[in-house]
């Protein structure tokens, strides 16, 4: 005979199976896999280097009763503003460096925001540093690139005469 049945939903089955799964769980996971391979890669490269070649030189500058500036571009072109005028240009130069490293790599250039030069007790500030290449350089395939740095010299009113010197730092790092 066919007994009248209540609905045999899968819920009932799920309750029962809860006690059985633990015994069989070991079957799962060992065979139902899909896999793919990937090639992990990296490259150990030449460290980046920065070599000093020559100094930034503003040449001879004439101060006056009013302040002014002298700009030396990365191409070593010189100009003045305000009460400052230009003297003899002998020795005027942008700073020069050579960057070395892994061929074709790019690198970031960090310039000082300001620095000072002094002659005895007297000093002036140098700021608005510029470089060529600007901000980011790219090494040649052979792994080198020249780097030129210019800046702006701020000459005070009635700046005392003298030979002023100072130092500044340039930093390069791989991008």
């Amino acid at each position: 005979m066919n007994a009248t049945k209540t609905s045999k939903t899968l819920l009932a089955a799920a309750v029962m199976a809860g006690t059985l799964c633990s015994a069989t769980a070991a079957f799962a996971g060992t065979q139902n896999s899909a896999s793919a391979t990937g090639t992990t890669n990296t490259r150990i490269i030449t460290p980046i280097s920065l070599t000093y070649v020559s100094n930034l030189n503003f040449g001879d500058v004439v101060s006056s009763s009013s302040a002014g500036t002298v700009v030396v571009t990365t191409a070593a072109a010189r100009s003045s503003t305000g009460g400052t005028t230009l003297g003899n240009s002998t020795g005027v130069a942008a700073a020069a460096f050579t960057v070395g490293g892994q061929g074709s790599s790019t690198y970031a250039i960090t310039l000082p925001s300001t620095s000072s030069i002094a002659s005895g007790a007297n000093s002036m500030t140098v700021d608005a540093y510029t470089s060529n290449p600007s901000t980011t350089g790219t090494l040649s395939a052979g792994g080198s690139q020249g780097l030129a740095v210019g800046a702006t010299l701020n000459v005070g009113a009635s700046q005392p005469t003298g030979s002023y010197t100072g130092t500044f730092n340039v930093t390069v790092a791989y991008n």
């Binding site: 066919n2 799920a14 996971g29 899909a34 890669n41 990296t42 490259r43 150990i44 980046i48």
Partner: protein, 319 residues
């Protein structure tokens, strides 16, 4: 049974007594008095109390996979090396039989076979202590085997009625039947994993001391120790595309745990793999899922310059 109650009105105290009248089962079954030639059909009541549920299984990559549920103990096995069962609910069917005689044996006839989800199911039966009534009652389990071809179509299948389960005591003196209903099988799409991008740590500068490069699943790098980073061109987390059954749990493993990268110098290692999404995960409603793999590269002191590579394997399993 008759119960008598006596109340004594003079004391207001109550006393109750029960009179038990035992009903004794005849030692000889009345049906047997007449012998088989006078057989009167009596009924066994057969009732299915639990469905046969094969649970979820991935179709095999090729050939036929046989998925079996043992009616004795309920273990589920799958014989294919190409796909496997999910760790979900499954069960054998249970039938109860009442109205049998004493401790007589009985026989069970199962449906020869059935088809669910395009797969052929055969049935098997088991009862604790053999097919013997105890006080006229017993129960037995029905398991089975489902043969799943590689071409099986993914789906959630339930066979409403697989056919009659007949129970027969003493060559037909008492019989009963019930249909084996609700045979359930879910076939899933096989998992498939493809690589879309290699894990790449990019250019790295070794130093005089060892160090590491951490590559996140977002493809970002950081370095520690004597190691600094070179150009990030081509830096990428490993990227894999996983397809399979929608909204289904999976787990991912990356091997080897420690991968050796070989190149012109001393081998380097990559370990501490990280995954996004983390494992286990659930396939989206519309696969694929994108799996991202990062890790930690260990660079030796003064590592020789050059390119280093190693092959990792990413595996995904249904949960």
């Amino acid at each position: 049974m008759t119960a008598l109650a006596c109340i004594n009105p003079t004391t207001s105290r109550e006393a109750k007594a029960a009179l038990l009248v035992p009903i004794v089962t005849p030692v000889v079954d009345p049906l047997d008095v007449f012998g088989s030639s006078f057989m009167i059909a009596a009924s066994l009541t057969v009732t299915q109390t639990q469905a046969l549920n094969f649970g979820t299984v991935a179709a095999p990559g090729s050939g036929i996979g046989n998925l079996a549920i043992n009616p004795n103990g309920g273990a589920r096995t799958y014989d294919t090396a190409n796909s496997a069962i999910a760790a979900d609910a499954f069960s054998f069917a249970i039938f109860t039989v009442t109205g049998g005689q004493g401790t007589k044996t009985y026989t069970v006839t199962l449906p020869a076979s059935a088809t669910v989800g395009g797969c052929t199911v055969t049935f098997s039966q088991w009862s604790a202590g053999g097919d013997v009534f105890s006080g006229g009652n017993d129960s037995f389990n029905v398991g089975g085997n489902v043969a799943i071809p590689a071409a099986a179509t993914a789906g959630n299948y339930t066979l409403a009625n697989a056919g009659a389960v007949n129970v027969d005591q003493a060559s037909g003196s008492r019989t009963g039947t019930d249909d084996l209903t609700a045979v359930h099988l879910k076939i899933t799409k096989p998992l498939a994993l493809t690589k879309t991008a290699n894990p790449s740590f990019g250019d790295v500068v070794a130093g005089g001391t060892a160090g590491t490069v951490l590559l996140t699943t977002a493809g970002a790098r950081t370095s520690t120790g004597g190691v600094t980073l070179g150009n990030g061109t081509g830096v990428s987390a490993g990227t894999f595309s996983l397809t399979g059954e929608p909204s289904t749990a999976y787990a991912v493993t990356v091997s080897p745990t420690t991968l050796s990268l070989t190149g012109p110098g001393t081998a380097m290692t990559v370990d501490t793999w990280v995954l996004s999404p983390t494992s286990p995960g659930v396939l989206p409603a519309v696969p694929p899922a994108t799996l991202l793999v990062g890790g930690t590269l260990h660079v030796n002191a003064n590592q020789t310059q050059g390119s280093y590579t190693g092959i990792l394997t990413v595996s995904a399993n249904y949960q």
